[in-house]
Amino acid sequence: MSIDAQSVLNETFVLNLGPQHPATHGVLRIKLTMDGEYIVDAEPVIGYGHRMHEKMGENRSYAKFLPNTGRIDYVAALFNGHGYVGAVERLAGITVPERAEYIRVITSELNRVASHLLWLGAFLVDLGGFTPLLYCFDDREQILDLLESVTGARLTFCYYRFGGVCNDIDDDFVAGTRSFITRLRSRMPMYDAFVTKNIIFRKRVEGIGLISAETCRKYGATGPVIRGSGVSYDVRKVEPYSVYLKFNFDIPSFTECDCMARYKVRIEEMVQSMRIIEQALDSLPAGPIMAEKVPRTLKLAKGDCYYNVESARGSFGVRVVSDGSENAYRLKLRSPCFSNMSLFRECSAGMLLPDALALLGSFDLVIPDIDR
């Protein structure tokens, strides 16, 4: 009996890519129905990292929710803060002074580079290479030192306030950022030679995990996932917020739709972010960093509004529904990883298990961002 005929009689078995697994970057569980090495059906089971952010949004005042924003997507925490603060400012009609907007852009873009560096290390550990993680963490520590000197935290920042930022950046922050950018630019060719041209890495990611632009639209996937499928949708350009209009930078997008395209998008995004930071540092205006009369306990007008930012993983949106009291009536956090992950079941049918892990790694997941 030839091999083909034999394999038709196989039974499928169920494997748990469980809550505690090195490749899931947290507590994501995937129920894999397998036929040998091929995935018949991969049903993600989420909720193991659910931490009730939206419930907490309702039973505490607007200002008390600020520390929570650093713990939704803690790898790129400043974007959540920017989204939440932006939504409340839009509903309250607070205008943020120019310098504070620039500081927000600089620190957010630094956080994006740090998030992409952590993703680069973790993605390659998923594919089996441990050494790049040490290089990436070394670079990332430089950014954490800079951000720690200004915000006081390494990971779960709570730096933005309604109407501005709480701490001004000084000269050695600016000097440190410039020296960091020159250092990272000198190391990018090393990453390029060390990883991008590595034949083992290319064999694991090229042509693997194809996601069409139509699937991205149907599932609402945004960020590097949709930019890897040829659609250059970036909230900073398409729906400009803050002062991003003042900087010229371009949005990398590749049309191969595979893991390699998403990898190249993120590597190119790091370069673009450094361009933005440099332009922002050059034209940093003087002036106040907080809007003047922002009431201590904020009471927003009745009604709701939506504000979204381009986080490192996609478009992070906040919908604040207020009924005039000092607590939000309803706070909806639209997290990018939730939608990016929802297309995993459709895209991973029929793939080999190691390829499905490469696809999972190319999503750059943060599990509490999925579960909120």
Binding site: I3, D4, S7, V8, P19, Q20, G36
Partner: protein, 134 residues
């Protein structure tokens, strides 16, 4: 039983004894020194590991034959290496390229296994999903 034969037998015996002592000794030491009881909360110590959740279904099912073929190829080559051990002992006795030629011939013939397996499609993981449509 000349002197050298007795001595080589003693060496052989000593070698076997050392193997046994190291093998069994480690297990006995562990049995003596290791903690007797494992602290558990749900008494799930002996459950097979599935990332923290209960495994679904049982393992005795008919899964793909390709795993079995991989194991067969491994056995073929481990036997091949087994035969190379005695060759290594007497490799340098005769000068010239004769020994090298013999070893090459031996390994070459056994390498035909890979060519045969390649032709039969063992190395391309056939999948049930692909075969019905293809």
């Amino acid at each position: 039983m000349t002197n050298t034969v007795v001595w080589s037998l003693i060496y052989l015996l000593a070698f076997l004894l050392a193997g046994l002592v190291i093998g069994l000794g480690a297990m006995v030491m562990a049995w003596l020194l290791a903690p007797k009881r494992t602290r558990t909360v749900y008494q799930k110590t002996l459950r097979s590991i599935e990332c923290g959740v209960a495994p679904i279904g049982h393992a005795w099912i008919r899964y793909g034959v390709v795993y079995y073929l991989y194991a067969l190829i491994f056995v073929a080559f481990s036997v091949d290496v087994l035969f190379l051990f005695p060759v290594a002992l007497v490799y340098n006795e005769t000068p010239g390229w004769l020994d090298f030629g013999e070893v090459l011939l031996f390994v070459g013939i056994l390498a035909l296994v890979i060519v045969y397996a390649w032709k039969k499609g063992v190395f391309s993981w056939k999948s049930k999903l692909k075969s019905p449509q293809a």
